[in-house]
Structures are given as C-alpha cells and as structure tokens.
C-alpha cells in the first residue's frame, strides 16, 4: 500500500522536518487487534512462540491503565486506534552501502549525519521505518564473533541466546508501554558479544520515523558475555507531521560478570512525537552499565533508564541531558536498584527548559537494609531560559541500613539578561548566545561523550536555540 505519491522532496528549514515518498509493501493498517499481530507474524515469518508472546502482551496492554495518576495527562491525547502498528518496505535488510536504496541514502544525507560519523556508517545498522533498510556488520566485529543484527533476525537465527534474555530485564507487564512494545515490536537491534571480546568501534544505529501516524516500536537486546565490552549508539530525528506520532521502544541490556556496556542515545524528535521508552540493564558481578541519554524535542518524552545492580561490585551510571522547548515536556530520570553488596551508582541529570518548555526529573534509588557498602551519587541541575520555564525534581531515594551511602545535590540556575547582553555585545545573535550558555551548562557532562556525539549534540542545541528566538 502506498502512503504518498508526491514525487518532490518536501524540505523545510528544520532538521528532520521533511518527508520522502514512501512505498510500503506491508501495512497492517490503523488500529491494534489480534489481527494486527497475526498479520505482522505472517509477514515477518516469525515462530509461534513470538506470536504467543505478542498475543499475551496485547492482553496485558489492554488491561493496564494509562499511568496518568502520576504522569502527564497529555498521554490521553494518544489515540491508539489511529496508529499504524506495522509498516515495512519491500527491501530486505541490505548488507553493503551500495545496496542501500538511493532515497534512503538521501534521507541519511538530509539527516545531516556529520562526515565524522559517515566513516562509521559501514558498521551501522540503520532502521528505515520498521524494517532494517540497511544493516552491515562491521567486519572487525563479526571477525570477533560479535552478532549485530535486527531483532527479527536475532530471534529467528539465534533463538538459543535471544530467548534466554528477551523480556527478562523488562517484563511485558512492567508498564503499559512496555506491554504495547512487546505486542507489536519490530526493528531494533540484537547484539551478542562473546566472552572477553572488546568491540573496538561503537556499534551505531540510525533510524527515523517516516510515515504519518506510524508508531515505531523498536526492540533492542544487548548481551555482553563475561569480561566483554561494547558501546552502542543510537540517534534519531523524525519529520514533522500534523498528527501525533508515537514512539515506544524497549531496550534491554545484560552485562554478565565483568562486562561493560555503554549505551548512548541522542534523540531529536519533532514536537508532535510521544516518546515513551523503557530502558533497563542488568549488571552482574563486577559488571558496568552506563546510559548516556540526550533528549531533545518531542511533545512528551518519558524515559528513565535504569540499572539493576544484581551482582557484587556492579556499577551503574546514567548521564542525561534533556532540553524542553516551547510546548515540550521532558519527563526523564533514572532508576538504580541496588541488589548486591558493594554496588555503586551514579546519576547526573541536566535539564534545560526554554520558554514554556517543561522538564521533570524523576529518580528512583533503592538500597535495601541488608546490603553493605553500597554507594549512590545523584546530581540534578536545571537551567531555565525564560521566566515561563518550569522544572520539577522528584528524587525518590530509599536507602536503608547503616552501611550504605547516598549523596544528592540539586541546583537550578537561569540565563540572565546580563549574560545574554554580554554575549551579544561580542557579536553573537540572541540564539547563538543562548546556545553557548546551554552548551556551557552541559559541558562538563558532554565531555564524557564520544567526540562525534558531542559535536552532533552541540549542533542540535544550536538549531533548537536558533528556533526558540522570536
């Protein structure tokens, strides 16, 4: 079924604010029912256990209420009957850059992926709509025995590893949106890193939503076997549409004994997107999981990356940056569940509210009484640009027992008219001045990021701030 036949590109000034003609061979239509799941399973040629898993999840999704008793009532604006749950092109996942269709390449071009990142594209698994349009395992990674494929391929070709961990870190019933994802997931990555293997290059995935009313439900599962190390990066931009678009991913990480996983996200959604994502990692003994999470744009983002510190001396870290512009609500935070002795966690969250933008931090740190030698450090800093801006902090820290330590700091600062005047007197426009102040605010955090990502983050902030000046 063809979505649109417009032959010309519709390129607007904002990044991500453009649409390409789409040809979808498979379209499950609007609305969600058992029929939708049957259709998906048939098209994707999935095994019966997945069909059953999806059907059960659909039931859970229907039973779970919207979490509006604590979260934004804006969630009620999502009309589940108007969403397309499955669309896929007729191209099979491509193996090399040459095989990637030209219009997909153009999309990457328009996304403005910097030169420095194109060199990594050879190893990128990128998602164009719900099916991987391009997936090429970096040679070096596959030589090391690393599996890096789409989730569908993962569950079909590596069931022995996939089934063991799939849905174990984030059970279907964790929340309404993890249930939704479990029912209709498609796309996303499956990664397995064998014991002792240190993946030398970050594995990257780019994807974007390119169909009106199309909810995107990626499912990513990363398993780092004992003593291995891997970095995964995802970045997204979405074109702007009139009607709300839903994005609801589930990401599960498993770091076995002594393994290290770093998961980096830079997201730039258009301001009609609901971005409701569940991300959690399970860290075994001496393992380390670090989430780096940058959220820009969207109408409402709800995302609280977490780590369950299951094994002794496991470490968890969440470094997050959220930028809420006019009409946007960034409801983000972190969860650290200490479940073994001598586990440590670190949360650094920075939020920027511009105009009527709203930033909320929700934290959950849990240290039960019977544990010893656990540590948590939580820092939340908020920057307000404009008097209308709003920021809220809900740091729920439960630390019991005498042998654990927690530390919590929070600050709120503003960009003053005098600071803006000073920078403008040096020749910067108002937008450039605000952008510089924002970059300064996140600077100490952004320097932990890989170079290409801090460059891209800076560019995205520049664009956001330019657009925020009247």
């Amino acid at each position: 079924m063809s979505e649109t036949t417009t032959p010309e590109l519709d390129i607007k000034t904002d990044i991500g604010n453009f649409v390409y003609p789409e040809k979808h061979k498979y379209d499950a239509g609007k609305g969600l029912s058992e029929h939708t799941i049957d259709y998906m399973c048939e098209v994707k040629e999935e095994p019966d256990w997945i069909r059953e898993f999806r059907m059960n999840a659909l039931q859970t999704f229907r039973e779970k209420p919207m979490p509006t008793h604590w979260a934004s009532s804006d969630l009620n604006a999502i009309d589940f009957d108007k969403i397309r749950y499955y669309l896929a092109g007729d191209q099979k996942p491509s193996r090399s850059w040459d095989d990637v269709p030209d219009d997909v390449k153009q999309t990457f071009e328009r996304l403005g992926i910097p030169e420095s990142e194109r060199k990594f594209l050879a190893g990128v698994e990128a998602q164009f709509d719900s099916e991987a349009a391009y997936s090429n395992i970096k040679e070096i990674a596959s030589k090391q025995g690393v599996i890096f494929v789409g989730s569908t391929e993962g569950l079909k070709e590596h069931p022995e590893i996939f089934r063991k961990w799939f849905g174990k870190v984030i059970p279907t019933g964790d929340n309404k949106f993890s249930a939704l994802n479990s029912a209709v997931f498609s796309g996303g990555s499956f990664i397995y890193v064998p014991p002792g293997v240190k993946v030398s290059h970050p594995l990257q995935a780019y994807f974007r939503i390119n169909a009106q009313n199309f909810g995107q439900f990626e499912r990513t599962l990363i398993i780092a076997d004992e003593g291995s190390e891997v970095t995964y990066m995802e970045g997204c931009t979405a074109p702007k549409f009139d009607t709300a678009t839903l994005h609801s991913a589930v990401v599960e990480l498993v770091a076995l004994k002594g393994a290290k996983i770093q998961y980096i996200t830079v997201q730039n959604w258009s301001d009609n997107v609901f971005n409701l994502v569940t991300k959690r990692g399970l860290a075994h003994e001496d393992a380390e999981i670090r989430w780096i999470d940058c959220n820009i744009g969207s109408r409402l983002t709800m995302k609280y990356p977490g780590v369950i510190l299951k094994g002794r001396r496991a470490r968890g870290e969440v470094l997050s940056i959220a930028l809420a512009n006019d009409g946007q609500h960034q409801d983000t935070g972190a969860k650290m569940v200490h479940a073994a002795d001598e586990t440590s966690s670190n949360i650094i969250s920075k939020s920027i509210s511009v105009g009527k933008g709203r930033a909320t931090y929700r934290g959950l740190v849990n240290m039960p009484k019977h544990l010893k030698g656990c540590k948590n450090n939580t820092e939340c800093d908020a920057l307000l640009i404009n008097t209308n801006s709003r920021t809220d902090t809900y740091p729920a820290i439960t630390a019991r027992g005498d042998h654990n330590s927690v530390q919590h700091e929070a600050s709120v600062s503003k960009v003053s008219a005098e600071q803006i005047f000073y920078m403008r007197q040096r020749g910067m426009s108002e937008g450039q001045a605000m952008s510089l102040a924002v970059n300064g605010f996140i600077n100490d955090l952004a320097r932990h990021f890989p170079m290409e990502y801090s460059v891209e983050l800076k560019r995205l902030i520049d664009l956001e701030m330019e657009g925020s000046v009247g």
Binding site: S413, A417, Q419, F421, Q425, S429, A437, G440, F441
Partner: protein, 256 residues
C-alpha cells in the same frame, strides 16, 4: 566616509529618569579620548546606551559609526559593525571556556555556512595572549568564573584584541584594580592603540591616564560633556577635584 564615531545630541532615559542630556562627542579612529567625571553623572550609561543595552532608552539623537546610524541596529549588529565595550562588571558564563567564547564570537562574524579556521584561530589567540602576557592555561578557564578583578579586565582586553574593533568603549576598566594590575591592563590597551581603532576611556580617576595617555579629555557632569581639552585637563581635575566643575556647571534652575 568619515572614520569616526559621532555621537550627536544623545538623550537617554532609564526607567523614566533622563540620564544623558543632549550629549555630543566625536571620536576619530586612531585617537584615545578619556571621559572623566564624578560618580552618577552618566558615564556608564553612555557606554551601555552605545552598546544597545535594552534597559537604556534613547529618546533623541543619533550615533554614527563611520557614517552609519547604529541606533537602529541590534546589540550584536552594532558589535559586528565594529563597536566593542569592555565591561566594568563582565558576566560569568559557566562552563564556557575563554577559547570557546571567542570562537563563538569570531564565528558570528562569518557568513552563514562558513566555518572558522580553528588552526588560524588558535594561532592568533596565542599571539595575542603572548602580546598581553597572558598564560596560555587561561584559555581553558570558564569565562569570568572565579576570576580576580584583574583577570576579568585582562580577559576583556584579550577579547578586544581578538575582535579588533573599530571603536572600543572601556567602561571604568581601572576600577577595582591594584597598581600592578592597572599597569598590566594599561600596557595591553597601549598595544592595541593604533590608526585602526578609536578608544573611549571612561574613568573616575586620573591614575589610569598616567599609563594610557589620552589625545583628548572630556569632563562629564550631569549627563553632558561640560568641558573638553588636552591631556593636561586630567591633571587639573586630579589636583582640583570635581567640585569646581559641579559649581561651574550646576543646573541653572538650581542656581536661580
């Protein structure tokens, strides 16, 4: 085109109070003019009004920069046109290093799509720092954050050196400096003197004028320039104080 900054009959109001009254002054490029006067007479108002601070309302007059009226320009447009102000109390911008701040300021002067040559930028930056005897470690510090009074003023001079303005207004650059810092800052300004730059040096004290010898001295009182002369006028003021100015130029209404 006349290469001068021409302030013509400028009147400025701050929160309904008129601070500058029909002030006129011409600063040719290549010259250093000092503006002296007692506190509260409108010296800093002049600096901020010229730079375009939003709290200062221009009620009449014009300011021509090389013949172009800058009062219709935005703050940053005036800056890019070649007007620089060394702040009396420069703002801190947390997390922004001096190098990044200056890069952003330089980048803002390039055409859209044009990228600053980073290598050339650092080469120039280090040259200017060497010239001003500023340690290179200084570049990585967040701008004005935790700076001493002297460091703040040297940072202002460094920015001036990098941005190469046509006209620089130095707002009480000497305030809060000890004698050593004053000497260092003054040496910096002297190095930036030249045919391509006009400097308006606003000060309360004559002391800085021992280091930066002005071509002309203007005395400001009650929102107006009441007396102009050569560098000797500064010495006269230092010897006699400001009282005689106040007496001589008191409001006619107050006299009557």
């Amino acid at each position: 085109m006349s290469k001068q900054l021409e302030i013509k009959n400028l009147s400025v109001t701050v929160e309904t109070t008129e601070i500058l009254k029909d002030l006129s002054l011409t600063l040719p490029r290549g010259e250093v003019h000092a503006i002296m006067g007692p506190n509260g007479t409108g010296k800093s108002t002049l600096a901020k009004a010229l730079a375009g601070h939003p709290d200062y309302e221009i009620t009449s007059g014009e300011v021509l920069l090389d013949g172009e009226n800058i009062l219709e320009m935005e703050v940053d447009e005036r800056a890019r046109a070649g007007l620089f102000m060394a702040f009396q109390y420069p703002s801190e911008i947390p997390g922004v290093s001096i190098a990044n701040f200056l890069r952003a300021a330089k980048q803002a002067r390039l055409a859209e799509g044009e990228d600053l040559d980073a290598t050339g930028f650092y080469k120039t930056l280090y040259e200017k720092m060497d010239m001003l005897h500023i340690d290179r470690k200084f570049t990585s510090r967040a701008i004005n954050e935790g700076f001493s009074g002297g460091e703040k003023k040297r940072n202002e001079i460094l920015q001036m050196a990098m941005l190469e303005p046509k006209y620089a207004i130095m707002d009480e650059t000497d305030s809060g400096l000890d004698i050593d810092a004053l000497r260092i800052v003054s040496e910096g300004v002297n190095k930036l003197r030249g045919p391509e730059c006009g400097i308006l040096l606003i000060t309360h004290y004559q002391r800085i004028l021992e280091y930066i010898v002005p071509d002309h001295v203007h005395v400001m009182w009650n929102g107006r320039i009441v007396k102009s002369g050569g560098k000797d006028l500064a010495i006269e003021l230092e010897n006699k104080g400001y009282d005689w100015i106040k007496e001589e130029f008191a409001e006619p209404a107050a006299k009557a």
